[in-house]
Amino acid sequence: MLGEGILKGMAETAKNFVGSYFSAERMTTVQYPEERITPYEAARVFPFLVYDSRNTADPSDWEAGMRCVACQICEKECPPKCIYIDKSKDKKPDAIGKPQFYPSRFDIDISVCMSCQICVEVCPFEAIKMDTVYELSTDDRFGGLLLDREQLAKSNEYYHRIHPTEAAEVDDRLSEGRAKTDAKITAGAIAAAIRGAEVPATAKAATKPVADGAVEDDAARAAAAKKAAEPPTGAEN
């Protein structure tokens, strides 16, 4: 019959109207400043710099624990060139105690950044990751959208909070890397010790004082290697 569809449609909309007052799952509205949609795990907005809490006295000391070594790969790979890095003149010890450069200036212009994540993909030190904060609007037209080192540095715990799976993977990789480095150093120390032990045996027929000096050098090297194997375990704590 003519008009049947219209009446069915009107019944449907009436059901919607009445139902919207009684069942909360019908309403898809998220009323913005009071409620927010939680970003899903792979969300990305702008980069941030990860720091580990290496300073036991002050866990939020980002300067001591920043992973970035100012290799400037991300600056070169960034497509809109929104990263500005200045390498430092001195060196600071990194996660395994090795002295590394650090960025004395690391600015990202977030009005230019296009969130492509290339800087994250190319960083060899897992130092720069994507953040999920989007409420970054400011009325300072000139410097407000140029984030500097301090604003960009966020702790590893924060990284775990926003991207738990990714952070766990990164931590595993980093500790694996450190374990490998440890193993290499201890293997080197053992090999050096073995070589130190062999040389005096073969060089006994040769000049004795030279062999003593060689043994002492090797022994000193083995002792130094053993000492070097210790700090990584200290740093991982």
């Binding site: 003519l2 219209i6 009107m10 919207s20 509205t29």
Partner: protein, 391 residues
């Protein structure tokens, strides 16, 4: 006491008139009535814009505006401030005088239509003998303003939108008039107060509203369809919807003039609903005899607001009709039904009182409706779609 509540506005008017000398009193009375209409209906318009947005939102499973005021009820104030402070852009090649006059003509003619609506017992601004004719005369003049708006913008899309709007309004004007003529036939008068008086009787507590008769129900349905088309409401809002798609007759208007068009459209909706309630729903008479203690103007305005809610409901339910579809609908479907309705109404009168006329008239109308709907559906050949793909 009930009589006083019912006549409170009339008493208020007479009391205010009493402060003036005898010579000026009739003029003062009319001016007070005009002031009342000019204040009440735009306020109702403001409220309706919020209700429309909230109603449509709830129908679409979302919350409407809820930031300004409790439940968003002060939203029209924000909208009003916005439209008053927007820049009034008149295109360089537009015809400035006609561009300016178009919204003015619209609002003036629509306000004139309110002058003959009886909003309560003894609450008509002007009790004209040919009140219905005056109302339709003002409605017809509103079409001219639509055309003026579209033409003066010097924009071919505006012009096309305006021509389509005028064509639609003219076609449905015929339907509107014919469905009202049945009511005039039964009451024998064009005066709206007499039409209400003819409906203000009760049998076994039920009222004699014209909608409760077969020809009245058919007439009311056709009147409602024609009213939605006359005021360019969904599903007939192609002139307006084109503003969203390409352009419409009010595309070159911004700021306050656009607000005036908006106001004119909603006021036209109110006045046409008011006329519909007067003709078919008994105007200010109560639905049941024992409810007559409620003031008459409350009944009128509640029936008016119910019609507005039905308009909003239809808007949320139906998709837009294409121009050729709506013209077909008017001339091929509704107009024959309207003419048949006229004859059925005449038959109703000549068969005299009794059950026979109910049966005969209902049978004729239902048979005609069923026949027409089967005919339409058969011609449509609705079947599964066949797709043609590029080779």
């Amino acid at each position: 006491m009930q009589g006083n509540m019912d006549q409170i506005f009339v008493l208020l008017q007479h009391w205010l008139m009493g402060y003036l000398p005898m010579a000026l009193q009739p003029l003062a009375g009319v001016v007070l009535g005009v002031v009342a209409i000019v204040c009440v209906f735009p306020a109702l318009f403001a409220l309706t814009t919020v209700f429309e947005r909230k109603g449509l939102a709830r129908i679409q499973n979302r919350i409407g505006p809820n930031r300004v005021g409790p439940f968003g009820l002060l939203q029209p104030i924000a909208d009003g401030i916005k439209s008053l402070t927007k820049e009034d852009i008149v295109p360089l090649s537009a015809d400035a005088t006609v561009h300016f006059l178009a919204p003015v003509v619209l609002v003036v003619t629509v306000f004139m239509g309110f002058a003959v609506l009886p909003m309560g017992r003894n609450m008509v601004l002007v009790d004209l003998d040919a009140g219905l004719l005056f109302y339709f005369a003002m409605g017809a003049s509103a079409e001219l303003s639509v055309f003026m708006a579209g033409w003066s913008s010097r924009n071919k899309y505006s012009l096309m939108g305006a021509m389509r709007a005028v064509a639609q309004m003219i076609s449905y004007e015929v339907v509107l008039l014919l469905s009202s003529v049945t009511v005039v036939m039964m009451t024998g008068s064009l005066s709206l107060t007499k039409i209400i008086e003819a409906q203000n009787h009760y049998t076994w507590g039920l009222p004699h509203w014209f909608i409760f008769t077969p020809w009245g129900l058919a007439g009311f349905v056709m009147y409602a369809i024609a009213a939605t088309a006359e005021t360019n409401r969904s599903p007939f809002d192609l002139p307006e919807g084109e503003s969203e798609l390409v352009a419409g007759y009010h595309t070159e208007y911004s700021g306050f003039k656009f607000a005036l068009f908006f106001l004119g459209e909603y006021l036209a909706m109110f006045s046409i609903s008011g006329l519909g309630t007067t003709l078919f729903l008994g105007g200010w008479s109560a639905p049941l005899a024992w409810l007559a203690w409620v003031p008459s103007w409350i009944w009128f305005f509640s029936k008016l607001m119910m019609s507005i809610f039905v308009f909003i409901w239809m808007r949320g339910t139906l998709p837009r009709l294409r121009q050729d579809q709506l013209m077909n609908f008017a001339w091929k479907l509704i107009l024959p039904m309207c003419l048949l309705n006229l004859m059925v109404a005449a038959l109703w009168r000549f068969l005299g009182e009794g059950w026979l006329r109910w049966v005969v008239c209902s049978a004729i109308l239902i048979a005609a409706y069923a026949g027409m709907s089967l005919n339409e559906l058969r011609r449509k050949q609705i079947g599964p779609r066949r797709y043609r793909y590029a080779e």
